[in-house]
Protein backbone atom coordinates (compact mmCIF):
# COMPACT_ATOMS: atom_id res chain seq x y z
CA UNK A 1 0.00 0.00 0.00
CA UNK A 2 2.88 2.35 0.78
CA UNK A 3 3.98 2.82 -2.79
CA UNK A 4 0.47 3.26 -4.03
CA UNK A 5 0.40 6.02 -6.60
CA UNK A 6 -1.28 8.71 -4.60
CA UNK A 7 1.55 11.10 -5.16
CA UNK A 8 0.54 14.67 -5.80
CA UNK A 9 1.10 16.12 -9.23
CA UNK A 10 -0.78 16.71 -12.32
CA UNK A 11 -4.28 17.53 -13.29
CA UNK A 12 -5.74 14.81 -11.09
CA UNK A 13 -4.80 16.43 -7.81
CA UNK A 14 -5.93 19.77 -9.12
CA UNK A 15 -9.27 18.35 -10.18
CA UNK A 16 -9.78 16.93 -6.71
CA UNK A 17 -8.75 20.20 -5.06
CA UNK A 18 -11.16 22.13 -7.26
CA UNK A 19 -13.98 19.79 -6.34
CA UNK A 20 -13.16 20.01 -2.66
CA UNK A 21 -13.32 23.77 -2.62
CA UNK A 22 -16.41 23.85 -4.82
CA UNK A 23 -18.36 21.64 -2.41
CA UNK A 24 -16.96 23.13 0.79
CA UNK A 25 -15.21 19.92 1.79
CA UNK A 26 -11.91 19.67 3.64
CA UNK A 27 -8.71 17.78 3.01
CA UNK A 28 -7.88 15.40 5.85
CA UNK A 29 -4.36 15.28 7.26
CA UNK A 30 -2.12 12.63 5.77
CA UNK A 31 -3.05 9.18 6.95
CA UNK A 32 -0.53 6.51 7.89
CA UNK A 33 -1.53 4.38 4.92
CA UNK A 34 -0.87 7.22 2.50
CA UNK A 35 -4.39 7.36 1.13
CA UNK A 36 -5.67 10.87 0.52
CA UNK A 37 -8.79 11.71 2.47
CA UNK A 38 -11.49 14.35 2.38
CA UNK A 39 -14.20 15.28 4.86
CA UNK A 40 -17.51 16.05 3.19
CA UNK A 41 -20.67 17.69 4.40
CA UNK A 42 -23.49 15.20 4.14
CA UNK A 43 -25.80 17.57 2.27
CA UNK A 44 -23.37 17.89 -0.61
CA UNK A 45 -22.10 14.30 -0.51
CA UNK A 46 -24.40 12.79 -3.14
CA UNK A 47 -23.61 15.37 -5.79
CA UNK A 48 -19.91 15.24 -4.94
CA UNK A 49 -20.01 11.46 -5.30
CA UNK A 50 -21.37 11.81 -8.81
CA UNK A 51 -18.61 14.23 -9.72
CA UNK A 52 -15.94 11.97 -8.26
CA UNK A 53 -17.17 9.13 -10.40
CA UNK A 54 -17.76 11.02 -13.61
CA UNK A 55 -15.09 13.71 -13.93
CA UNK A 56 -12.52 12.81 -16.53
CA UNK A 57 -9.54 13.43 -14.27
CA UNK A 58 -10.95 11.59 -11.27
CA UNK A 59 -13.03 8.63 -12.43
CA UNK A 60 -13.43 6.93 -9.05
CA UNK A 61 -15.43 4.14 -10.59
CA UNK A 62 -15.07 1.50 -7.87
CA UNK A 63 -16.51 1.81 -4.37
CA UNK A 64 -14.29 -0.52 -2.37
CA UNK A 65 -15.86 -0.24 1.04
CA UNK A 66 -18.37 1.58 3.20
CA UNK A 67 -18.04 1.48 6.94
CA UNK A 68 -18.53 3.77 9.90
CA UNK A 69 -16.81 4.86 13.09
CA UNK A 70 -18.55 5.65 16.35
CA UNK A 71 -16.93 8.50 18.32
CA UNK A 72 -19.04 8.71 21.49
CA UNK A 73 -17.40 11.92 22.67
CA UNK A 74 -17.35 13.81 19.41
CA UNK A 75 -19.79 15.91 17.51
CA UNK A 76 -21.00 14.60 15.12
CA UNK A 77 -20.92 11.17 16.73
CA UNK A 78 -20.70 9.00 13.62
CA UNK A 79 -18.39 9.11 10.66
CA UNK A 80 -19.38 7.14 7.59
CA UNK A 81 -16.22 6.20 5.71
CA UNK A 82 -16.03 5.40 2.00
CA UNK A 83 -13.03 4.06 0.14
CA UNK A 84 -12.97 4.81 -3.55
CA UNK A 85 -10.67 3.46 -6.20
CA UNK A 86 -10.14 4.84 -9.65
CA UNK A 87 -9.32 1.90 -11.89
CA UNK A 88 -8.63 4.33 -14.72
CA UNK A 89 -5.97 6.33 -12.88
CA UNK A 90 -5.09 3.78 -10.18
CA UNK A 91 -5.71 6.12 -7.29
CA UNK A 92 -7.36 5.65 -3.94
CA UNK A 93 -9.47 8.16 -2.04
CA UNK A 94 -11.00 8.07 1.40
CA UNK A 95 -14.18 10.06 2.02
CA UNK A 96 -15.59 10.71 5.47
CA UNK A 97 -19.07 12.04 6.09
CA UNK A 98 -20.05 13.22 9.57
CA UNK A 99 -23.46 12.09 10.82
CA UNK A 100 -24.93 13.41 14.10
CA UNK A 101 -26.58 11.05 16.55
CA UNK A 102 -29.91 12.88 16.76
CA UNK A 103 -30.54 12.61 13.07
CA UNK A 104 -28.45 9.61 12.11
CA UNK A 105 -29.04 9.77 8.41
CA UNK A 106 -26.78 9.98 5.41
CA UNK A 107 -27.60 10.14 1.69
CA UNK A 108 -27.38 6.77 -0.01
CA UNK A 109 -24.95 6.45 -2.89
CA UNK A 110 -26.55 3.29 -4.28
CA UNK A 111 -27.49 5.18 -7.45
CA UNK A 112 -23.87 6.21 -7.95
CA UNK A 113 -22.17 2.93 -7.06
CA UNK A 114 -24.52 -0.07 -7.03
CA UNK A 115 -22.17 -1.96 -4.77
CA UNK A 116 -23.05 0.42 -1.93
CA UNK A 117 -26.33 -1.45 -1.44
CA UNK A 118 -25.19 -4.21 0.91
CA UNK A 119 -22.41 -2.11 2.44
CA UNK A 120 -24.92 0.50 3.53
CA UNK A 121 -27.22 -2.15 4.92
CA UNK A 122 -24.35 -3.41 7.03
CA UNK A 123 -23.58 0.08 8.35
CA UNK A 124 -27.26 0.52 9.18
CA UNK A 125 -27.33 -2.87 10.91
CA UNK A 126 -24.23 -2.29 12.99
CA UNK A 127 -24.40 1.47 13.72
CA UNK A 128 -28.01 2.46 13.15
CA UNK A 129 -27.13 5.08 10.55
CA UNK A 130 -29.99 5.31 8.07
CA UNK A 131 -29.31 5.89 4.40
CA UNK A 132 -31.83 8.19 2.74
CA UNK A 133 -32.84 6.92 -0.67
CA UNK A 134 -31.64 3.37 -0.16
CA UNK A 135 -33.95 1.01 -2.08
CA UNK A 136 -34.05 -1.75 0.55
CA UNK A 137 -32.67 -0.66 3.90
CA UNK A 138 -33.03 -3.83 5.98
CA UNK A 139 -30.66 -5.44 8.42
CA UNK A 140 -28.23 -7.73 6.66
CA UNK A 141 -26.31 -9.65 9.34
CA UNK A 142 -28.49 -9.60 12.43
CA UNK A 143 -32.07 -10.94 12.57
CA UNK A 144 -34.76 -8.53 11.36
CA UNK A 145 -36.25 -8.15 14.84
CA UNK A 146 -32.91 -7.62 16.60
CA UNK A 147 -33.33 -4.57 18.82
CA UNK A 148 -29.79 -3.13 18.97
CA UNK A 149 -27.01 -1.77 16.78
CA UNK A 150 -24.16 -3.81 18.18
CA UNK A 151 -21.07 -1.97 16.93
CA UNK A 152 -22.03 1.22 18.73
CA UNK A 153 -19.59 1.87 21.49
CA UNK A 154 -22.28 1.85 24.21
CA UNK A 155 -23.29 -1.71 23.34
CA UNK A 156 -21.72 -4.19 25.80
CA UNK A 157 -18.80 -6.08 24.31
CA UNK A 158 -19.97 -9.45 25.59
CA UNK A 159 -23.36 -9.02 23.98
CA UNK A 160 -26.86 -9.01 25.39
CA UNK A 161 -28.66 -12.20 26.26
CA UNK A 162 -31.83 -12.00 24.24
CA UNK A 163 -33.28 -15.37 25.02
CA UNK A 164 -36.18 -15.90 27.33
CA UNK A 165 -35.30 -17.85 30.40
CA UNK A 166 -35.52 -21.39 29.13
CA UNK A 167 -33.47 -24.35 30.14
CA UNK A 168 -34.42 -27.99 29.89
CA UNK A 169 -37.98 -27.39 30.99
CA UNK A 170 -39.43 -29.26 28.07
CA UNK A 171 -41.49 -26.17 27.40
CA UNK A 172 -42.27 -24.81 23.99
CA UNK A 173 -40.52 -21.65 22.87
CA UNK A 174 -42.00 -19.83 19.92
CA UNK A 175 -39.44 -18.32 17.61
CA UNK A 176 -40.94 -14.85 17.84
CA UNK A 177 -40.34 -14.83 21.57
CA UNK A 178 -36.60 -14.74 21.09
CA UNK A 179 -36.39 -10.98 21.14
CA UNK A 180 -39.47 -9.74 22.93
CA UNK A 181 -38.44 -10.16 26.55
CA UNK A 182 -37.31 -6.54 26.67
CA UNK A 183 -40.05 -3.90 27.06
CA UNK A 184 -39.89 -1.30 24.31
CA UNK A 185 -37.73 1.70 25.07
CA UNK A 186 -35.78 0.05 27.83
CA UNK A 187 -32.04 0.18 27.66
CA UNK A 188 -30.12 -2.96 26.79
CA UNK A 189 -29.11 -4.82 29.92
CA UNK A 190 -25.54 -6.08 29.81
CA UNK A 191 -25.02 -9.67 30.83
CA UNK A 192 -23.78 -9.57 34.42
CA UNK A 193 -21.23 -12.34 34.65
CA UNK A 194 -19.76 -11.37 37.98
CA UNK A 195 -22.06 -13.83 39.73
CA UNK A 196 -21.73 -16.51 37.09
CA UNK A 197 -23.93 -16.72 34.06
CA UNK A 198 -27.53 -15.60 34.61
CA UNK A 199 -28.88 -18.75 32.98
CA UNK A 200 -27.10 -21.00 35.40
CA UNK A 201 -23.73 -21.57 33.82
CA UNK A 202 -20.90 -21.36 36.19
CA UNK A 203 -17.55 -20.97 34.57
CA UNK A 204 -15.93 -19.81 37.78
CA UNK A 205 -15.83 -16.28 39.03
CA UNK A 206 -15.47 -13.93 36.12
CA UNK A 207 -12.49 -11.60 36.47
CA UNK A 208 -13.68 -8.31 37.87
CA UNK A 209 -11.64 -6.18 35.49
CA UNK A 210 -13.06 -7.83 32.39
CA UNK A 211 -15.09 -4.94 31.07
Amino acid sequence: MADHPVSPSSSKTEALAALVSEFGAEHLPDAADGIAGILVDRDSWLELARQLRDQEDLRFDLLVDVTAVDWPDRQPRFEVVYHLWSLTHNRLLRVKVGVPEEQAECPSVVLVWGTANWHEREVFDMYGVRFAGHPDLRRILMPDDYPYHPLRKDFPLEGVDNSVSYRNEGGVLMTQELFVDRPAGQDPTPVDRSKGDPQGYSDGAAPADES
Binding site: L141, M142, P143, Y146, Y148, P150, F155, L157, E158, G159, V160, D161, N162, S163, Y166, R167, N168, E169, G170, V172, L173, T175, Q176, L178, V191, D197, Q199, Y201, D203
Partner: protein, 167 residues
Amino acid sequence: MGLEDKFPEILTSRLTDLVAWGRKNSLWPMPLGLSCCAIEMMATVGPKFDLSRFGAEVFRFSPRQADVMIVAGTLTWKMASVARRIYDQMPDPKWVIAMGVCASSGGLYRNYSVVPGVDRIMPVDVYTVGCPPRPDTLIRAVMELQSKIEEMGLDGRSPREPIVLQN
Protein backbone atom coordinates in the same frame (compact mmCIF):
# COMPACT_ATOMS: atom_id res chain seq x y z
CA MET B 1 -41.55 -67.11 34.03
CA GLY B 2 -43.60 -70.11 33.12
CA LEU B 3 -43.93 -69.03 29.53
CA GLU B 4 -40.26 -69.51 28.76
CA ASP B 5 -40.35 -73.04 30.19
CA LYS B 6 -43.18 -74.05 27.93
CA PHE B 7 -41.84 -72.35 24.79
CA PRO B 8 -38.02 -72.27 25.06
CA GLU B 9 -37.69 -70.43 21.73
CA ILE B 10 -39.53 -67.35 23.09
CA LEU B 11 -37.85 -64.45 24.90
CA THR B 12 -39.93 -62.36 27.23
CA SER B 13 -39.22 -58.74 28.15
CA ARG B 14 -40.85 -55.63 29.46
CA LEU B 15 -42.30 -53.51 26.68
CA THR B 16 -40.50 -50.45 28.03
CA ASP B 17 -37.16 -52.20 27.84
CA LEU B 18 -37.82 -53.51 24.37
CA VAL B 19 -38.75 -50.06 23.05
CA ALA B 20 -35.76 -48.44 24.76
CA TRP B 21 -33.46 -51.08 23.29
CA GLY B 22 -34.82 -50.39 19.84
CA ARG B 23 -34.60 -46.64 20.22
CA LYS B 24 -31.08 -46.52 21.50
CA ASN B 25 -29.67 -48.75 18.80
CA SER B 26 -31.27 -46.99 15.86
CA LEU B 27 -30.63 -43.31 16.44
CA TRP B 28 -31.09 -41.25 13.32
CA PRO B 29 -29.17 -37.99 13.70
CA MET B 30 -30.17 -34.66 12.23
CA PRO B 31 -26.81 -33.03 11.44
CA LEU B 32 -27.08 -29.34 12.23
CA GLY B 33 -23.57 -28.59 10.97
CA LEU B 34 -23.14 -24.89 11.63
CA SER B 35 -19.38 -24.47 11.42
CA CYS B 36 -16.00 -26.12 11.95
CA CYS B 37 -17.28 -28.83 14.34
CA ALA B 38 -19.30 -30.25 11.46
CA ILE B 39 -16.07 -31.48 9.84
CA GLU B 40 -15.39 -33.69 12.85
CA MET B 41 -18.98 -34.83 12.80
CA MET B 42 -18.50 -35.94 9.19
CA ALA B 43 -15.31 -37.74 10.15
CA THR B 44 -17.25 -39.56 12.84
CA VAL B 45 -19.50 -41.25 10.30
CA GLY B 46 -16.58 -41.98 7.97
CA PRO B 47 -14.99 -45.44 7.74
CA LYS B 48 -12.29 -44.76 10.31
CA PHE B 49 -14.48 -43.90 13.28
CA ASP B 50 -17.62 -45.49 11.88
CA LEU B 51 -20.52 -44.33 13.99
CA SER B 52 -22.62 -47.12 12.46
CA ARG B 53 -21.07 -49.48 14.99
CA PHE B 54 -23.39 -47.74 17.45
CA GLY B 55 -26.41 -47.64 15.21
CA ALA B 56 -26.34 -43.91 14.62
CA GLU B 57 -24.99 -43.56 11.10
CA VAL B 58 -28.19 -42.80 9.20
CA PHE B 59 -27.87 -39.02 8.97
CA ARG B 60 -31.17 -37.56 7.90
CA PHE B 61 -31.30 -34.15 6.31
CA SER B 62 -35.00 -33.95 6.94
CA PRO B 63 -35.84 -33.29 10.58
CA ARG B 64 -39.03 -35.29 10.21
CA GLN B 65 -37.02 -38.49 9.87
CA ALA B 66 -34.56 -37.81 12.67
CA ASP B 67 -34.63 -38.29 16.42
CA VAL B 68 -31.34 -36.88 17.65
CA MET B 69 -30.11 -33.45 16.66
CA ILE B 70 -26.35 -32.97 16.66
CA VAL B 71 -25.72 -29.24 16.92
CA ALA B 72 -22.19 -29.09 15.55
CA GLY B 73 -20.98 -25.54 15.52
CA THR B 74 -21.59 -21.92 16.37
CA LEU B 75 -25.23 -20.91 16.66
CA THR B 76 -25.84 -17.27 15.81
CA TRP B 77 -28.90 -15.27 16.77
CA LYS B 78 -29.81 -15.05 13.13
CA MET B 79 -29.82 -18.83 12.87
CA ALA B 80 -31.49 -19.36 16.24
CA SER B 81 -35.10 -19.24 15.11
CA VAL B 82 -34.29 -21.54 12.18
CA ALA B 83 -32.59 -24.06 14.45
CA ARG B 84 -35.52 -23.96 16.82
CA ARG B 85 -37.93 -24.55 13.96
CA ILE B 86 -35.94 -27.57 12.80
CA TYR B 87 -36.03 -28.90 16.36
CA ASP B 88 -39.79 -28.39 16.50
CA GLN B 89 -40.20 -30.33 13.27
CA MET B 90 -38.52 -33.43 14.67
CA PRO B 91 -41.01 -36.02 15.90
CA ASP B 92 -41.01 -37.07 19.55
CA PRO B 93 -39.14 -38.64 21.22
CA LYS B 94 -36.15 -36.47 20.33
CA TRP B 95 -32.82 -35.63 21.84
CA VAL B 96 -30.11 -33.02 21.36
CA ILE B 97 -26.34 -33.35 21.50
CA ALA B 98 -24.49 -30.04 21.83
CA MET B 99 -21.21 -30.79 20.07
CA GLY B 100 -18.27 -28.58 21.00
CA VAL B 101 -17.93 -25.58 23.27
CA CYS B 102 -19.68 -23.25 20.83
CA ALA B 103 -22.90 -25.21 20.92
CA SER B 104 -22.54 -25.86 24.65
CA SER B 105 -21.80 -22.34 25.85
CA GLY B 106 -20.99 -20.01 22.97
CA GLY B 107 -17.36 -20.95 23.43
CA LEU B 108 -14.85 -18.27 22.62
CA TYR B 109 -17.45 -16.14 20.89
CA ARG B 110 -18.87 -14.09 23.72
CA ASN B 111 -20.23 -11.27 21.62
CA TYR B 112 -23.32 -9.80 20.04
CA SER B 113 -23.85 -12.35 17.31
CA VAL B 114 -23.53 -15.76 18.96
CA VAL B 115 -26.09 -17.54 21.13
CA PRO B 116 -24.33 -18.42 24.41
CA GLY B 117 -25.25 -22.08 24.30
CA VAL B 118 -27.99 -23.80 22.32
CA ASP B 119 -29.82 -24.59 25.55
CA ARG B 120 -31.06 -21.03 25.31
CA ILE B 121 -33.49 -22.21 22.66
CA MET B 122 -33.84 -25.98 23.03
CA PRO B 123 -33.32 -28.63 25.74
CA VAL B 124 -29.91 -30.30 25.52
CA ASP B 125 -29.29 -33.91 26.57
CA VAL B 126 -25.51 -34.20 26.22
CA TYR B 127 -22.92 -31.43 26.30
CA THR B 128 -19.49 -32.23 24.87
CA VAL B 129 -16.15 -30.54 25.43
CA GLY B 130 -13.58 -29.71 22.81
CA CYS B 131 -12.95 -27.17 20.11
CA PRO B 132 -13.63 -29.20 18.09
CA PRO B 133 -14.28 -32.44 19.98
CA ARG B 134 -12.50 -35.40 18.48
CA PRO B 135 -14.74 -37.97 16.81
CA ASP B 136 -14.23 -40.25 19.81
CA THR B 137 -15.84 -37.59 21.98
CA LEU B 138 -18.86 -37.48 19.73
CA ILE B 139 -19.05 -41.27 19.80
CA ARG B 140 -18.91 -41.10 23.55
CA ALA B 141 -21.69 -38.53 23.55
CA VAL B 142 -23.81 -40.90 21.49
CA MET B 143 -23.06 -43.74 23.90
CA GLU B 144 -23.95 -41.59 26.91
CA LEU B 145 -27.16 -40.66 25.19
CA GLN B 146 -27.86 -44.34 24.58
CA SER B 147 -27.45 -45.18 28.24
CA LYS B 148 -29.77 -42.30 29.05
CA ILE B 149 -32.38 -43.52 26.58
CA GLU B 150 -32.22 -46.91 28.21
CA GLU B 151 -33.58 -45.40 31.41
CA MET B 152 -36.33 -43.48 29.74
CA GLY B 153 -39.96 -44.40 29.92
CA LEU B 154 -42.15 -45.08 26.92
CA ASP B 155 -42.72 -41.36 26.35
CA GLY B 156 -38.99 -40.93 25.82
CA ARG B 157 -38.91 -37.79 27.93
CA SER B 158 -37.66 -38.55 31.40
CA PRO B 159 -35.11 -38.21 32.85
CA ARG B 160 -34.16 -34.86 31.32
CA GLU B 161 -31.09 -34.10 33.39
CA PRO B 162 -28.37 -33.21 30.88
CA ILE B 163 -25.12 -35.15 30.76
CA VAL B 164 -21.97 -33.03 30.69
CA LEU B 165 -18.94 -34.80 29.26
CA GLN B 166 -15.71 -33.89 31.01
CA ASN B 167 -12.26 -34.17 29.57
